[in-house]
Amino acid sequence: MDLTSLTIDAARSAVQERNTTATVWAESHFARISSEDDKIGAFLTLSNERALSQAARMDALAAKGEILPPLGGVPVAIKDVMVTRDVRTTAGSKILENYIPVYDCTAVGRLEAAGAVILGKLNCDEFAMGSSNENSAYKPVHNPRDLERVPGGSSGGSAAAVAAGMAVATLGSDTGGSIRQPASFCGVVGLKPTYGRVSRYGLIAFASSLDHIGPLTRNVKDAALMLRTMAGRDPMDSTSADIPVPDYVAELEKDVRGLRIGVPKECFGAGLDAEVRTSVEIAIQKLASRGCEVVAVSLPHSAYAIPAYYIVATAEASANLARFDGVRYGYRSAEARTLSDMYRKTRDGGFGAEVKRRIMLGTYALSAGYYDAYYLKAQRVRTLLTRDYEEAFGKVDAIVTPTSPTAAFRLGEKSDDPLAMYLADIYTVTANLAGIPGISVPGTPTKSGLPIGVQILGKHFNEATILRLAQACE
């Protein structure tokens, strides 16, 4: 069996019909991880015990002839920013090197309750801060499509594991593009739902008003299945919305004919690679040929998205990361003699360069004398960016853009220039600021065979429409 093309339904049906067992699926994935992951670096921790006991439960159900739950026996893996009870969770940081959580992230718990088999925890940029996965404190991730290139970030391990056949589906987190951009670079589907659609309980916070959990999968239907499993109100997250969850899989059956697709001119200007442009244009033509109406729209404040985003995100991060102080969990510097010394030495030794940079930027933007000029200003621009979408969505059902301005770049290419790295997120950050859903679906690859992602953005809580359009692009 080719593990690189296995889908959720195929994996589950094979167990249900007893052509194989969930235990065999888990073991064959662990075998593939042990043969492939040395060169890719997607996994930080394996949860063999937890996986095999869940697989045994699913096998017992199948043996009794019972109907398996929707993800019954399906091997999945989790970005290491979501806490997992009794399974080490590092957030890609040295400061949490030995952290063993005492509870489960809601999204992870819901997958497991639906029968998923959790193989382990996936590498990522430290605290999800990065666009290339080179900020992991443990090891970089190599793009399975070209090992010299980055897998994107921050959910680089999540995208690489799906692309390399080491998990059928994975969870990532997206604060400014961290699901969609790696999905684009690795040639898989990545979905960032609406803010509030999936509970953030148990997601190690980076920027609370921008953080989202979502799936990375091999096709759109699997993304719909994963979302259906995780979505819905969670009393443990007060920002999770009290809105009914549609059957996203059933919604895929509806036709895309007659849907209005907006194409914002601002996303096709300077800085966009010619091959990426062509790939997105082909996708737009494809949608037009399926009966969608293509409409020119404008997002006039797009040029201000990255600066506004990096102020809002880092300000929130500086507050969220204050909790890592060496007292309740994680690393503590052994050198310190006083409490304040302990905080400083612990944080200095535990955080990497990009995390410190963002804490510093965020602290600066919030500090007396700069709060109005930077933080409040960025929040006002956030309003303008959100209004841009509200106006565009008055005319169209969805918006199509590139996911990232280029295909995957080489390891080391941008790692010394934080600003150049931030620009890799230019088409994705606005969806986080506005809270709208977005999906990256593979388009026509480059001539040299590198994947390119097409991004489809939708109205709040209208994941069904963008999933349907994404499927029409597949």
Binding site: N98, V102, G196, A322, V327, L339, M342, I359, M360, P418
Partner: protein, 112 residues
């Protein structure tokens, strides 16, 4: 240059970071580069634009409801046992670098 050496030291202090001698010049350079780019925002007149801190207070709530009624779904009864049972002390302390079995232990707080 917007940010000076002194600012880096001050902000590091606020953020409970020390930064090594090698880290400081790099931090100075990066902060100036990023803030230089952020200056782009000054082009926009935002005098009459309300700041936006959250998405969930505008989207995903019933617009017909106002005030606290709008967020009534997020309220819950005070539950002493059951749904949100607290962690047992031994569990809560499990990940701590130093404890005495009941409390987290830290170095001396009062510095002489």
């Amino acid at each position: 240059m917007k940010v000076t050496d002194k600012d880096v030291a001050y902000v590091a202090d606020l953020a409970n970071l020390e930064l090594t001698e090698e880290e400081r010049p790099r931090m100075l350079r990066d902060l100036n580069a990023i803030l230089g780019y952020v200056d782009l925002l000054e082009e926009l007149n935002t005098k009459d634009v309300a700041p936006m801190a959250q998405v969930s207070d505008r989207f995903g709530v019933d617009p017909a409801k106002t005030g606290s009624a709008r967020f009534a779904y997020a309220r819950r009864e005070d539950i002493h046992e059951g749904l949100r049972k607290s962690l047992a002390p031994a569990v809560a302390l499990r990940g701590a670098p130093e404890t005495d079995g009941t409390f987290f232990e830290v170095p001396k707080v009062i510095e002489k």
